[in-house]
Every structure is written in structure tokens, then in C-alpha cells.
Amino acid sequence: MSESLPAPSATVQTSIPTESGMVPQPRSARPSWLLAGWATLVFGFLYLPIAVLVMMSFNDSRILALPIRGLTFDWYITALQDEPLRDSLWNSLKVAGIATVLATVFGLLAAFAIYRYRFPGRSAFRIALNLPILLPGIVTGVAMLAFFSDLGFGLSLGTVILGHVVFGIPVALGPLLTRLGQFPRSLEEAAYDLGAKPAQVFLDVVFPYIRSAVIAAALLAFTLSFDEVVVTIFLTGRDNTLPMEIWGRLRTSITPEIAAIATVVLLTSTVLVLLSQRISARDSA
């Protein structure tokens, strides 16, 4: 630096001490009131109805009027003592359980096939597997109904399970493919290199790597099956699943018992979905 530079004056110096606790905003930060307002709008619209439903289930009167005068668990007890509701819950758990196992196993096979083998039509195969989740449920429902009745299949919980498996496979495929896509091929090669035979490589290296994705996939498939309505309506025989039972009762009007059982379904679904997201996120971080 040249000697003739003027020494910085004391006034400049005093004006620039670091303000304690000041962490600068990046240049692009805008005032956030716009964001906050918009968030309130969207979330209000989205979550107020759900809040109303939950309040209804705890309200000690059949008519909802704010502010709530008293809280009660009566509607939950009523719902639990209701035999058709209990039966339909049991049916839902059976259907969802079996469909989840099948969808996860088939999804795992499909994910491996897509990940590992380069075969002609690989990407078409992948899209074809994904399509069911995106096609209108009413059309696939109608198609399956037509098909089963053509084949002379009796409608039952079995046909419902088959239908749910078809939708469950692509849902399970998502997290599995994502995780397998992150799997470094070199880990597999390293295991081979150190003396592991193919089955050992899968057990020791590949499965531990994708385990969290398998759990997440199963949780998602379960949630989907547990909540499904449209296809179920077409494919079920005399037995009702829980959403179908709720649906049937709604034709008349919303009772607090329905609000109670809907709240339970909501809570279960939310927990399962958040759990599966957390599990996927934990390992891919």
C-alpha cells in the first residue's frame, strides 16, 4: 500500500463497529408480510375445516356453535361401541395389511428390475408402473369391475385387496427407486471385491442401505389402502371398509360420531405419512 494513503479518520472508525447480534439478511430478502399473509390465507383455508371437524368431535352438543361450551369424549365412545363401524375398521386393517405386504414386495422387485437391469423399454416399464396412480380412479375402478364381472369373479375383500395392490405398487416404488438411485454401485462392488457372494452382498450391503425406504414405502402403501374410497366402492362385495362406512352414513348428515371416527382416521394417516417422510428424509440427508 502506498505511504500517501490518508489514514482512516476516527469518525469512520466509530461508525463501523459490528452491531452485536446483527446477522445480515441476504440481498434478495424481501419484506415477508406478503408471504405471511398468503400463508395465513392458504393454511386457513386448508386447516380451518379440519379444525372444525376435530372440534365437532369433542363438542358436547350435537350442534356446533362457537365458542364451544363443553368438551366430551362421548362421541368417541359411541363410535367405538358401534358394531358396523368396528367391523369396517377390522376389514380396513385386514385389506390394508395384506395389500401393503404385497405392494411392498412387488414394488421392491420392480424397483430392483428398473435399477439393475438395462432392458429394452426400461423407461416405458417405469412409466407404465406409475400410470395407475395418476389415472382417474373412477375409470380404473369401472374397468376392474367390468373385468371381474366378465371373468365371473365374485366381488369381495379379495378383489378390493387386488385393486389396492395395483395402486400400492407405484406408491411403494417412489421411495424405493429414490433410495436405490442413491445407492453407490461401488459399495456393491466393494462387497464382491472383499469376497461376498451375491446373496451376502444383498443382505450385508444393499438391504441395510434401503431399509428405511422399504419402511417408508410400506407406510405409504398402508395409508393409501386405508384411505381409498373410489376403487373400493366398485370392487367390494357385502363387506365395508371404514371409509366406505363413513361415506355411507354421510349420505344423511354429519353426526359427531362420524366426526370422531374421521378424526381418528385423520390422526392415523397424518402420523403414518409424517413417519414415512421422516424416515426417508433421515437417511437421504
Binding site: 500500500m1 502506498s2 500517501s4 494513503l5 490518508p6 482512516p8 469512520v12 463501523i16 463497529p17 459490528t18 452491531e19 452485536s20 447480534g21 446483527m22 446477522v23 445480515p24 440481498r27
Partner: protein, 365 residues
């Protein structure tokens, strides 16, 4: 002479993190860059060199201090109001625009007439020897071609200062060498001011008029490549730039021009740097640095500093031959040109007082 400082950073600090746990990216950094200079910021990742560049470019606000461009305080000015352009490490070419559209973009923003833009772009394409690539998209270009387009775009409206953020790091080793020479030639032709960020000391030395060595958000030394290599300001710079041998000892004697370092069983004479920042005192511990190529093997003449040892290992890397020599004072490395004939065995080492330097005045850190 205020005009001589084209870019001037006055005790600039940049802090990340929270008040309880502040992380200093820059700590009281003061720098000046002269017009027409090729100035490099050299440091490892996390040294604050890129933050310094981004602050000059207008992408960061400092917590303290001021940034001056051509004498004007631009600390608060956003990037689009500064007459400074950046060549990004990733080149940051707009993928949906052709090469011509990319290069013309700054002129379009400056609302120049269409015909003038077309002419200037054609000139620039020729100057950067890419006249045939005008209609291509960035994705259709090689790394070296992308780099030229990025340079052309940044230079087309003649900014006061060009900032370059490790522009060669994405290129292959062989092309890098070539582009490095082009870059130096470009700077000398255009006589523009370049501020160049790099972690590669060889690159910084080969290109720069002056280098600022940064570490942990602080500027450790500013100087020409020769100053920094031959007279490092402290132990950090000595270790960071180039290879070095270090000998520990105590100051036994001091004169105006020389110092004597006493080690176990040997003493060495050092030429004192007149402007050295290190306050030598008789009796204090000190570290002596000798560059490996300054050590002479079995010297013909009697040199003031001598040491004998055992040549144990030779590493041949073509242009250079590196000998490992075990001495009573530790392992020393000696570098010679590659075709020098050396054999393992007993050797005599010698060096002159001005081939070495005291770089640290207390070995008890």
C-alpha cells in the same frame, strides 16, 4: 494519490452465524488494488477469499468496514449498480440463450441500439476466437469454450474491474495451462484490472502482479510472487506457499544485517530482511526456513552454513528430482533439476545467509 486505489477495502468484516456463535468469513480485511493490476486472492477453502470477491462484486453486505471503487463508497450498492463484472466458477452462462444472446446480454440491459450490439458482439466473438459458435447453446460447448464465452460476456462492456472466481478449476490439467497463458495475455492486452481468486499457488504465482495470501478470514501477506515465496511474512505463509525446510533454534547473536541461529551442535547465519515484521531478540526461540532448491549438495565453495547428512531417498518427477536427506537436525528435502546425477549416501549441504529466513520467532507455540 487516492485515485491510484481502484479497489479499496477498508477494514471489512463479514460475519455468519449467530451473535452467540459468530463465524468470521472476513476479519478486518484491508486491501488495495491498483488500476491495470493482476491481483490474486490466494487461500484454501474457508480462508475468506471468495467472500472477499463476492463483497467487491456486490453479492454480500459487510458487517463492518467499507468498500471503495474508484474512490467511491459502494458498500451498500447492489451488484447491478457496480461497474464490476464477475466470471463465476461455474461460468453461469444462461442455458436458454445462445452464445450471441449471452454475450449481448449486458449491452441489451444497457439499452444500446440493436445494430451497435450486433457489431460489438461480432467483434468480441472474433477477439475470443469463437466466431463460429455464436448460434450454439452453452450445453453444446466444451469447458474451454464455455470459459471463453463467460469471459467475453463479462468483458464486452469494459467493466472497471473483472473478478474471477477460480475460473480454471473446471478445466482439464492440460487445457488449464493453455487458458492460463491466454488469460494473462488478455489482461495485458486490455490493460484491465483483474482480481483473481484461487487455491492454486502455482496459478497465482504464474499469473499475478501481486498476491494476497488469506487464512481464516485474514490477509496474512500482500506482495509480488517473489516477495511471498522468498520472504514469507510468517510461518503460515512459508508453509502454505511452496515447499520449505524448517530448522528450530535460538537466536545466539544479532547484528544489523545478520542473525545467528544456534541449534544442537550447529549455528547458522541468516540475512535479516530489513522490512521483516518479526521482532528478533537475542535468546528467543526461532524457526529458520530454507527452500529445498536453495540447499546446495556437496557445494564446490565453502558456504557459511553447512550441515552433513545421509541421502536416503530420491523421488523423480521429471523436471525435478527431490532428495530426502537425514541430518542430525531432522529430515531435509533438497530439490534439483530432474537430470541431476545423485546417489544415496553421505552428503554435505550448504547454503548462503540470504537463502534462508527467520519465519517464526517463538518455537514454543
Amino acid at each position: 494519490m487516492k485515485d491510484q486505489r481502484l479497489v479499496y477495502l477498508d477494514r471489512v468484516s463479514k460475519v455468519y452465524g449467530t451473535a452467540a456463535h459468530p463465524v468470521y468469513a472476513m476479519r478486518e480485511v484491508t486491501l488495495d488494488v491498483q488500476p491495470g493490476e493482476f491481483f490474486s486472492l490466494l487461500g484454501s477453502s474457508g480462508s475468506g477469499k471468495t467472500t472477499t470477491l463476492r463483497l467487491i462484486g456486490g453479492f454480500e453486505l459487510p458487517e463492518a468496514g467499507h468498500v471503495y471503487l474508484g474512490g467511491k463508497d459502494v458498500t451498500q450498492l447492489p451488484a447491478y449498480r457496480r461497474d464490476v463484472h464477475t466470471v463465476f466458477q461455474s461460468y453461469a452462462l444462461f442455458p436458454h440463450m445462445t452464445v450471441v444472446e449471452n454475450i449481448a446480454y449486458p449491452l441489451k440491459l444497457a439499452k444500446e441500439p440493436q445494430s451497435a450490439i450486433a457489431e460489438r458482439v461480432q467483434e468480441t466473438l472474433k477477439m475470443f476466437r469463437i466466431p463460429d459458435l455464436g448460434d450454439r447453446r452453452p450445453a453444446q460447448l466444451s469447458g474451454g469454450q464455455q470459459q471463453r464465452v463467460a469471459l467475453a460476456r463479462a468483458l464486452i462492456n469494459r467493466p472497471k474491474v473483472l473478478l474471477l472466481d477460480e475460473p480454471l478449476s473446471a478445466l482439464d490439467a492440460k487445457i488449464r495451462e493453455e487458458v492460463r497463458q491466454e488469460l494473462r495475455a488478455l489482461q495485458q492486452e486490455t490493460n484491465l484490472t483483474f482480481i483473481y481468486v484461487t487455491h492454486d499457488q502455482e496459478e497465482a504465482m504464474a499469473l499475478s502482479d501481486r498476491i494476497a495470501v488469506m487464512h481464516n478470514g485474514q490477509v496474512k501477506q500482500v506482495g509480488t510472487p517473489r516477495e511471498i515465496y522468498n520472504h514469507p511474512a510468517d510461518l503460515f505463509v512459508a508453509q502454505f506457499v511452496g515447499k520449505a525446510n524448517f530448522l528450530q533454534g535460538a537466536i545466539a547473536d544479532l547484528s544489523d544485517t545478520t542473525a545467528t541461529l544456534q541449534t544442537q551442535g550447529a549455528s547458522f547465519t541468516v540475512h535479516r530482511q530489513p522490512n521483516a515484521a518479526i521482532p528478533l531478540q537475542k535468546g528467543t526461540d526461532a524457526t529458520l526456513m530454507i527452500r529445498p532448491e536453495r540447499l546446495q549438495l556437496n557445494p564446490d565453495t565453502a558456504l557459511p552454513n553447512r550441515l552433513s547428512g545421509q541421502l536416503t531417498h530420491l523421488t523423480y518427477i521429471g523436471q525435478l528430482l527431490e532428495a530426502t536427506i537425514e541430518t542430525p537436525l531432522g529430515t531435509l528435502r533438497v530439490t534439483q533439476l530432474g537430470h541431476t546425477a545423485l546417489q544415496p549416501g553421505e552428503v554435505e549441504l550448504g547454503w548462503n545467509p540470504d537463502d534462508c529466513q527467520i519465519v517464526d520467532y517463538s518455537a514454543t507455540r
